[in-house]
Symmetry: C2
Subunit: 283 residues, 2 copies
């Protein structure tokens, strides 16, 4: 663990990350010692920090510290956590926050190999998602809803649970975004009031056109999912998981956009060495 560049695994209790969940995080796949989708993760972190009014550390600094932690890893996970730091009075944020950055290394998760090709079983969770446009899309540290939803099942055969907002719109999985195939088009939930705008979700939106596919953001309900020609889930560690079972219903994998899925998977597993070293974008 590195906290503000120092090797320690203990954080000040007064940090607003603990006190209020006042911060953001990113979870990155590491391949051959380098992060995958670095640009996408840093872009989201930086935009999220801007929306919350937290100064974002320079990307070069995060990249250097990330490499220091994960340089020797053939496959692993890097988590970057950014908080508003110490200070302020109660909820009132300090006028000039000095953010805290926490980088942690984790082993690659031991998901069954078959889930990527043969698909996963998914349930509907009962815990709803609260709606708040000011927080929608952000990967912030307020994750109790996901914790409660994830606690709804223990069966290890179930890979993910889908969450709805208070109006019954399906938003996504507890830790993944959802795509639906219908009549040759891709649909994905609108994230205007809740949900996390995943980096791999963004990748699907950008790459789909190259495979002749349109992707539309829509209000989707349970009936839409049940009637779909196919479903898949995305996140930066799982890449893409086809859904083979939704509740008690078997789902076909035949109509999934396998070429697009293969391209997305490649992108999520390719160490972003060149772009991460030379990326001159302003994040």
């Amino acid at each position: 663990v590195l906290i503000d560049g120092v090797a320690t695994d203990r954080l000040a209790v007064a940090d607003r990350g603990l006190q209020y969940g006042d911060g953001l995080f990113e979870t990155l796949a590491i391949r051959d010692g380098a992060p995958c989708l670095w640009h996408e993760h840093l872009h989201r972190l930086s935009r999220g920090a801007e929306r919350l009014g937290i100064p974002c550390p320079p990307p070069e600094l995060l990249l250097r510290e990330g490499r220091q932690l994960t340089g020797g890893e053939s496959a692993g996970v890097l988590k970057i956590l950014l908080t508003r730091g110490l200070g302020g009075r109660g909820y009132d944020p300090p006028e000039a926050p000095r953010p805290t950055r926490v980088l942690t290394r984790h082993p690659w998760p031991d998901y069954p190999e078959t889930w990527g090709e043969r698909g996963v079983a998914v349930i509907f969770c009962r815990t709803p998602l609260g709606e708040n446009p000011r927080l929608a899309g952000l990967k912030h540290l307020n994750r109790l809803e996901q914790v409660l939803a994830r606690a709804e099942w223990r069966d290890r055969e179930i890979a993910e649970g889908l969450m709805r907002d208070g109006r019954g719109r399906i938003i996504g999985g507890t830790r993944s975004n959802l795509f639906l195939v219908r009549a040759g088009r891709l649909l994905t939930p609108r994230l205007d009031t809740c949900g996390i705008a995943g980096t791999v979700r963004g990748l699907v939106l950008r790459l789909a056109g190259g495979f002749g596919l349109r992707v539309l953001e829509r209000d989707l309900r349970r009936a839409d999912l049940v009637a779909a020609d196919g479903l898949f889930l995305t996140n930066s560690l799982i890449g893409v998981w086809p859904v083979r079972r939704l509740g008690t219903r078997e789902m076909s994998l035949d109509h999934l956009p396998w070429e697009l899925i293969a391209a997305v998977r490649r992108a999520t597993r390719t160490p972003d060495r060149e772009r991460s070293a030379s990326c001159g974008c302003p994040y």
Copy 2:
């Protein structure tokens, strides 16, 4: 600071309190070295922990550690923070969580003395509250909404901001509960989908009958507040603040239930020595 009974101000980064806001907290007034409303705070903490599936430490242990921290204080603040501790896999909580307890001592806040008698100025915040019945009422660690709402004003003359849910119902202040006087009755927002069920709010609900007052939980909107005969705010540190200005509108203090308010204030400032020492209730 005491973490699990040990004098240290540093917490493990892997704690779920930081990672997901997976926990609860209580903020207690300290008078003459003893906590006020101890029973009420511990009752809420324990019920909240039950709802989240976090084992609650024995109240005797928390009381002993609280006294160890605040024993010499004539006036101060004790914050008790309870998290689900380490472990689990991502959002998935561990089957047998070993919770972390963090007790911190803070100075008494320096609110202007006049606010209690002459009343405070209050604004309406734009940041909404997300609705989630599973979290409603709990004083949990997911407080980004309150941080964003509190950041909406810097004017030190403004004491509090009122927050609405996505449907426009007024829920309360960023750190206080709201009461409204109308035709000799007290009304307070329903907290069925969001908001925190404050300990002093509970006290008002219990004591009002003794002063011949009925309190009703209602859906309240901006128009209800503007048309009210009077407004006041409660929390365990401020006790009761009458509202003398709502936005640009002057509010009368004449119709406030001053006898009830005095009784509530006494209760919030009385060190709960006897009850806290001998309270045999099961919380």
